[in-house]
Point group: C2
Amino acid sequence: MDLVFKALADAGRRQLLDALRERNGQTLSELCDELSELTRQGVTKHLRLLEEAGLVVTMRRGRHKYHYLNPVPINEIAERWISNYEKDKLRALSALKAALEEES
Amino acid sequence: MDLVFKALADAGRRQLLDALRERNGQTLSELCDELSELTRQGVTKHLRLLEEAGLVVTMRRGRHKYHYLNPVPINEIAERWISNYEKDKLRALSALKAALEEES
DNA sequence: ACCATAGGCAACCAAAAGGTTGCCTGTCAA
DNA sequence: TTGACAGGCAACCTTTTGGTTGCCTATGGT
C-alpha cells in the first residue's frame, strides 16, 4: 500500500491516471502529448512507478505500448484506509472543536 | 490537495495519524514514544508536514503541545478524487480485462 | 531495403526528503 | 531559584526523487 500512496503523491502521476481515466489504453506517445511539459523519459519514469504500484497495467503490442488503468489499488486504499478515518470523523471533529474552544 | 497526498506518502506520517486516531490530543513526547524508531526532531518534522497539509491541528498550552487529528482533508480526497475512480471502476476493469484477454 | 516511428537503457544532475546532532528557550515544580 | 522537562531552531548529511540528454533497438510502412 505504501507504493500506492507514494505513487499518488506526485501531481504529474495523478495527471497520468486522470488521462487514462478519461481515455483508457493510451500509448506512451499519446500520454506524452498530455503531459507536454515533460520529456518522454520523464513520462516513462512516472509510468514505471504507477505500474510498480499496480495502478497501471501495460501491454506491448508491436511497437506500441498500451497503458490501462487498474482501479483496484485505489479502491483498496479507500476501503482499508480512508474508511477508518471516515468512521471516526465525527468523533475527531468534535474533539478538535472542543480543544479549539477551550483555547480561548 | 497536493500537500495532503504528499503528506500521506510517508509511512511514518500515516503512523502518526493512526496514533492520533487511536488517541486524539497527544503531546509531542507521547507521539515520540509511539514512533520510537525516530528522534524527537524527526517526529517534529513529520508533524509539521501534517500540519501544513491541514491533517493535524496543534495547540500549545504551557509547555505542552497537543496534536489533534483533522479528518476533513482526508474526507475531501475521498469525495473529490477517489470517488471519480470508483465511478469508473467497472468500466476500467472491463477494459483492462478485455485488453488482457486479447493479448493471448 | 530503408527510413520514420515507438520505445528502452544508462548516465548524469539538481533539488527535495528524511533523518541526525547540538544547542537554545520556555515552563513547571520542589 | 534551580533543575528537570517539553519543545524549538539551525546546521548538516545522505538518500531518494524528478528530470534531462544521448544513444540504442525494434517495428511497421512504402
